[in-house]
Symmetry: C2
Subunit: 227 residues, 2 copies
């Protein structure tokens, strides 16, 4: 086929929207994949749907997985509070094995689609300290993907693209703005309400607000509290 297909993991946040714009700019037909994994709110998935549409995904698939039945994270277990301050080390918003699960599902869909390119918006600079956002994790997943699949074994390898991995949040926002991303469509907050309004106090809100300020780009986010 002459069409270059890519699976893009799309959370509805700022990073993955930028990634999708980059994939499109590189000439890929984008197949957007979102996960319903027991998030505290549905605002994220609504945002993913808006972004997929705005950036002309060929298809947007939402796969439900029961990560909430495992618990263990403030993002999937309603008995754990989302903290209002950034701490040291790996935070309670860490979802065990999340990116491993997401990339595995992206790999399965990519193989069915005949796509060999998977895009994910992980970032190892302005991030929350999650182990599954680091370059060595991504490299290990790519090795795994090419041992795990018919395509990989038969010599048509998969590539995991992480165009944001070395960017600061400000650089991500500048790059996306240059590609025409409407960040007003995205939601980053760990506890956004159904209308998509952000709390203004969680790690993710702080990183986002700081990114817009540093990029010198107006922040379109509707915050409930002053950041």
């Amino acid at each position: 086929m002459s069409e270059k297909r890519a699976v893009v993991l799309l959370s509805g946040g700022l990073d993955s929207a930028t990634v999708m714009a980059i994939a499109r700019d590189q000439g890929f037909s984008c197949y957007a994949l979102s996960m319903a994994y027991g998030q505290r709110h549905v605002a994220e998935l609504a945002a993913a749907s808006r972004v997929a549409s705005a950036l002309r995904a060929v298809e947007h698939k939402v796969v439900s997985i029961g990560l909430d039945s495992f618990g263990g994270s403030a993002l999937t277990d309603s008995t754990i509070q989302v903290p209002e301050e950034m701490g040291e080390g790996i935070p309670v918003t860490y979802v065990p094995a999340r990116n491993t699960v997401f990339l595995s599902l992206a790999l399965g869909w990519a193989e069915v689609l005949g796509a060999h390119d998977i895009f994910i918006g992980v970032n190892a600079v302005d991030y929350s300290g999650y182990p599954d956002c680091r370059p060595q994790f991504i490299a290990a997943f790519e090795t795994l993907a090419n041992l795990a699949t018919k395509e990989g074994v038969e010599g048509r390898p998969f590539q995991i693209h992480t165009p944001l991995i070395a960017f600061t949040k400000a650089e991500i926002i500048r790059q996306g703005s240059a590609l025409g991303v409407d960040y007003g469509l995205t939601v980053s907050c760990y506890q956004a309400n159904e209308a998509g309004e952000a709390c203004g106090v969680c790690d993710s809100c702080r990183l986002r607000a700081k990114g817009f300020a540093e990029a010198g780009v107006p922040d379109p986010t509707p915050y409930r509290s002053q950041v």
Copy 2:
């Protein structure tokens, strides 16, 4: 904790039942994990539940994942026929990235439970030629697991146990029988009906029947056709 916990991937088939008996015999408290991934039948999950109960799982969790929405396999896509003869190469019953997805979910649950041992019944001898059943795939997943997780990064590594990987089907059956596994509870057939009756003609039925014959153990499987 003094209790040794393990997550055991339990499909309801002969292999994973044997694996769970082995994990128990090694002193592990077993947390059984099954996936509802759009299988053609529900007999497999009913069998998993019977096996988990018979082998005293501490807990049995069934996680739904939408692999069927991807299609691409005779096991998840009802427009693809399950073949009645074993062919060459990787067969149409191959589910893209299945074991990668299953192990990723097992990893997530293990981390929440404080378990560092994951058991999976892959087998590289009497198997159907799936790439994600090979030792090099398992080794790559273990490497990934220890880069992907808080536990791995903090020096408490995960181990993926594949006690059947070098066994013939007959050896699996002999080992399980010695540990008291009731194979009458298990279902291996790719197209079992709701009562758990096997087709007798798919790859999986053929391998199973041959295994019992070679092991010299009576085959308790209710086949609809003569194998």
